[in-house]
């Protein structure tokens, strides 16, 4: 098959780039091997949460510091104006699929984790951050954290204890509770697989939502704020949220917990349906295994399912993610990028890949390993030549640490946007 642009990798970065490309009229395919990291994410979009291990409140100001000091950082290559534009683009695209993202007027806000810690982020879904949450938050006196009896992946008591230590909640009573949900009687027939999705599917049924709302109202006992694990519906979450809030007259807040993440799933669904709606071709469950090049220009790629039939395009975006997603492979004493065998930034000695402790303050070096690119996000091959028609975006890029800096999704979106922009302008030039 022939395309204008083939994007390898169907996660947040690949999809953002894909949507941008099809919107501009490029015949675009995304090849994705397995579901992406969005399924384990918080469902909030972090732009920049920490610099030098200090919490960032003003991400765009902090960006200047960051880009000023780390020349290789993907954000430096994007530049602030493009990052701002990319984020707006992303927000609007999500909105077309009824996923509404809220920010704190260019400031970071915090979302509560399953352990009751607070993490800075930029965009959140409506059930995590919005103006009501912001306003009610200031005068809040009582929070109730609820779990549904039998659900093993959330422990409200742990969250409550940790949250109450925070200065912000000093004057607030935080109560942890478990509630019984009649609909769960059947589900516990096989408690083996009893995950967030199973409960989220109960919420998909409107009749159930009304009954759940009544149970929540009873359990809340005069609280201002009710916190539940994130499973308020996969598709009809806006409606579920509205019903729950209006029927209980409470603010209902969602916390993402052990995977799969329903909040992340919503974004994944939104981006995929947007891409399909615009006419993009999404090839799921296939893996690009090799490429064919000629004079530093990639001609075609081949996949596991079609080892002999080329998929051809004028441009390629490599958004295959980190080690988890298979973007990079680590071996006993080696690391490599499997599709184009690109030049990587990494340490050859295995014992340099990690830090002495799991929760080491400076995180782990391997998270910063990745593909080295020029300022246009074009990678180098093993002979140090720039590959002309390939661009890299997202977690495969080197020189940033998504967790330590709290910038994973921001980098994924910005670099995707930049890569797509360049392809689009070249494509237009060619026409």
């Amino acid at each position: 098959m022939k395309f204008d642009c083939i994007i390898i990798g169907g996660g947040i970065s690949g999809l953002t780039a894909g949507i941008r490309c099809v919107e501009e009229g490029l015949h675009t395919a995304i090849i994705s091997s397995g579901m992406s990291a969005l399924h384990f994410s918080s469902g909030s979009i972090d732009v920049l949460g920490y610099v030098h291990n200090k919490v960032v409140y003003k991400p765009f100001e902090a960006l200047d510091t960051l880009t000023g000091t780390i020349a290789q950082h993907p954000y430096t290559k994007c530049g602030k104006p493009l990052i701002v534009e990319a984020l707006q683009f992303f927000k609007q695209e999500c909105e077309t699929q009824n996923v509404y993202l809220f920010d704190n007027e260019n400031l970071n806000h915090f979302h509560v984790t399953a352990l009751g810690t607070l993490k800075p982020t930029y965009f959140s879904q409506r059930s995590v951050f919005n103006e009501d949450v912001y306003n009610r938050f200031k005068s809040m006196k009582k929070i109730v954290i609820l779990n549904f009896e039998g659900y093993r992946d959330f422990h409200p008591k742990l969250a409550a204890a940790q949250l109450s230590k925070h200065a912000l909640f000093a004057n607030c009573e935080i109560i942890a509770k478990s509630i019984d949900m009649p609909q769960l009687q059947d589900i516990t027939r096989h408690p083996h697989e009893f995950r967030s999705v199973d409960i989220a599917r109960i919420f998909e049924n409107e009749e159930n939502v009304y009954r759940i709302a009544d149970v929540i109202r009873l359990a809340a006992e005069g609280a201002d704020f009710v916190v539940i694990p994130a499973f308020m519906g996969i598709h009809n979450f806006n409606q579920v949220h509205n019903i729950l809030q209006s029927r209980t007259r409470l603010l209902i807040y969602e916390i993402p917990t052990l995977p799969p993440s329903i909040l992340g799933l919503r974004i994944d669904n939104a981006l995929k349906s947007r891409f399909a709606q615009l006419g993009g071709v999404y090839i799921a469950g296939d893996k690009v295994v090799r490429a064919e090049s000629n004079n530093d220009v990639v001609q075609a790629v081949y996949t596991t399912n079609h080892p002999e039939n080329p998929l051809e395009a004028k441009f390629y975006i490599l958004a295959t993610g980190s080690f988890f997603s298979g973007g990079m492979i680590s071996e006993f004493n080696n690391m490599y990028e499997p599709v184009f065998k690109l030049k990587l930034h990494y340490e050859p000695e295995r014992n340099k890949w990690y830090s002495p402790q799991f929760f080491y303050s400076n995180s782990h070096p391997f998270l910063e390993y990745g593909v080295v690119t020029d300022e246009n996000l074009r990678p180098y091959d093993s002979k140090n030549n720039i590959i002309q028609n390939v661009y890299c975006s997202g977690a495969i890029l080197a020189h940033y640490n998504p967790i330590r800096e709290g910038c994973g999704s921001g980098v994924a979106i910005s670099t995707a946007y930049k890569a797509a922009n360049q392809i689009i302008s070249l494509y237009k030039l060619m026409r």
Partner: protein, 541 residues
């Protein structure tokens, strides 16, 4: 300060200490065991879990070999739920000295070990993953033994019979009254308080740490610690023990242990002051994997879960020697005779296999000192869980409604005690650890009955967090249950979670590549990225 009184104080909750406690209790001697960490957290729990037939010692150390096969037969009777009589093979590789094969056969015969030569074809039929290029094979009655369950069952039986056990409690010093032992001063590391226990007899069963225990009583006892490292493979790559038929050396054994396989072992001398900060060296991993691959070629294609090491408790009888050279024979010291300190007994050396025998020898001495006339019955008294031998099929039928994988795994771990754990209530068999099929009921049982003080202890009792995901899903689930089932505050639970993740990471570090690195990245996303566990401030002490 709290004080307690008893007849015998046992220092050290390894297999030997636990065995002494049980033997004393069964003979009606009042005893208290004090362990600085957890049951089976030292050398006992840090070996490859081989139920020796004795064949590995047959050529060089006949005495050990004979002891082994004797205890092998006893343990299969009294502790069957901790044991899998898998059988074992000794295989000769093309590069090995072919004469060792016959020497081994003859020595086994001499030691009374039922070893027999089998054809290469038959060996490959028994163990299809074996290197097909082997030259010859010997079948021996090796097996596997779970040291955690073994030690824990000894404790459980003793406690049910009235003994007291303090884990996470350090012995600060042995108190003497002139030349007579008066008791010990302890520090409870969790409650952060000191207390004293008085008794006329103190048994030093602290293994390699026994040197330090003796020092607190002003006695010199020299240990020669030797480190042994092992790696754990993701699944059971072999179903029988595979030994290399040669003079014992690094990387010559692969033991199937429950759902995984272990490649052992290296041997390196280490200074005594380093015994608490052991690390597996990168080159040890290289050796173990390279040699493991020679026995079972599949090793190179399989995910390595962890590497860990233990320290062999070799008592220096005279002079310094290589770790493997010193006899692993039992050393029982009556310090009254050696150092003129009455009431102090040190039991050291030996092997996991001979823990019961060592306990018997020690308790015989104790009994003699306090005038107890009862005879040892530990060789015929089954441990809790091993009372009745019932096969899987019957158990699975009994608990029909609960998935076979759950019933089978729980029964495998706890034997007959499965009836104290599983119930047909749905919530009871909800899975906490999905890799190893640890249910909510099992966690509850362990927290309430098995002296569990943290997630690492829980792991030793249940295998939680020991599967391929190394705690990624179950750690958080289980941490919350400490608040639910035990007297733990939510803050403690969170702290235990953090400690557990760090503990798991320690063993993952040396083998972080391939899927191991992917798993680690994923776990890091969850616990640091999604949960912000690293942001939880440790309470100031």
């Amino acid at each position: 300060m709290k004080t307690l009184e008893t007849e015998v104080i046992i220092i050290g909750g390894g297999a030997t200490g636990c065995g002494v406690l049980r033997d004393c209790t069964l003979r009606g001697i009042k005893a208290i065991l004090i362990e600085k960490n957890d049951i089976a957290s030292g050398t006992t729990g840090r070996n490859h879990g081989l139920l020796h037939s004795g064949a590995r010692y047959a050529v060089k150390d006949l005495e050990s070999a004979t002891e082994c096969i004797k205890e092998n037969r006893i343990l299969k009777q009294i502790a069957w739920h901790c044991i899998e009589p898998t059988g074992g093979l000794f295989v000769t590789l093309p590069e090995d000295d072919p004469t060792y094969h016959n020497r081994l056969l003859e020595s086994c015969k001499f030691a009374g070990i039922d070893a027999k030569e089998i054809s290469v074809k038959k060996a490959l039929a028994i163990e299809p993953n074996l290197n097909p290029n082997i030259l010859s094979a010997i079948w021996v009655p090796d097996g596997t033994i779970d040291p955690f369950r073994l030690a824990s069952a000894n404790i459980l039986d003793s406690v049910e019979r009235g003994a007291l056990v303090f884990t996470h409690t350090e012995v600060e010093r042995i108190m003497l009254k002139q030349n007579q032992v008066a008791g010990v001063q302890c520090y409870d590391k969790i409650a952060r308080e000191y207390f004293e226990v008085y008794a006329p007899i103190v048994v030093n069963a602290a293994g390699v740490w026994g040197q330090h225990i003796c020092e607190t009583a002003g006695i010199e006892l020299k240990m020669f610690p030797s480190k042994g490292s092992m790696v754990i493979i993701d699944y059971r790559i072999n179903n029988v023990v595979v030994n290399r038929c040669r003079v014992p050396s690094d990387g010559d054994i692969i033991v199937p242990g429950d759902t995984v396989s272990l490649i052992g072992t290296t041997s390196r001398k280490i200074p005594y002051d380093k015994i608490d900060e052991l690390v597996v060296d990168d080159d040890e991993i290289d050796i173990l994997l390279a040699d493991g691959e020679k026995l079972i070629p599949n090793v190179s294609r399989t995910r390595v879960l962890r590497a860990y090491c233990g320290v062999r408790p070799l008592v220096a009888v005279s002079g310094e020697m290589d770790g493997r050279e010193i006899s692993r024979g039992v050393v029982l010291i009556d310090h009254k005779e050696r150092d003129n300190v009455q009431g102090l007994i040190t039991i050291a050396g030996g092997k996991l296999m001979t823990y019961r025998l060592m306990a018997q020898m020690t308790t015989d001495l104790i009994a003699k000192r306090i005038g107890n006339k009862k005879r040892c019955i530990t060789h015929k008294m089954p441990l809790p869980g091993s009372e009745k031998r019932v096969g899987y099929t019957k158990k699975i039928k009994y608990f029909s409604g609960i998935p076979n994988s759950v019933v089978g795994s729980t029964h495998y771990r706890h034997g007959e005690r499965v009836h104290n754990i599983l119930s047909l209530q749905k919530r009871n068999y909800g899975l906490i650890c999905e890799c190893e099929m640890v249910t909510l009921g099992e966690v509850e049982y362990a927290i309430k009955n098995l002296k569990v003080k943290d997630l690492v202890d829980l792991r030793r009792r249940t295998r939680i967090g020991m599967g391929p995901c190394q705690g990624e899903l179950c750690a958080y689930r289980a941490a919350g249950l400490f608040t639910e089932f035990g007297e733990f505050t939510p803050d403690t639970s969170t702290k235990l979670l953090k400690d557990f993740i760090e503990e798991r990471f320690k063993g993952m570090k040396p083998v972080l590549w391939g899927d191991g690195l992917r798993e680690f990245e994923f776990t890091y996303w969850i616990y640091q990225g999604l949960f912000g566990l690293g942001l939880v401030e440790e309470e100031e002490q």
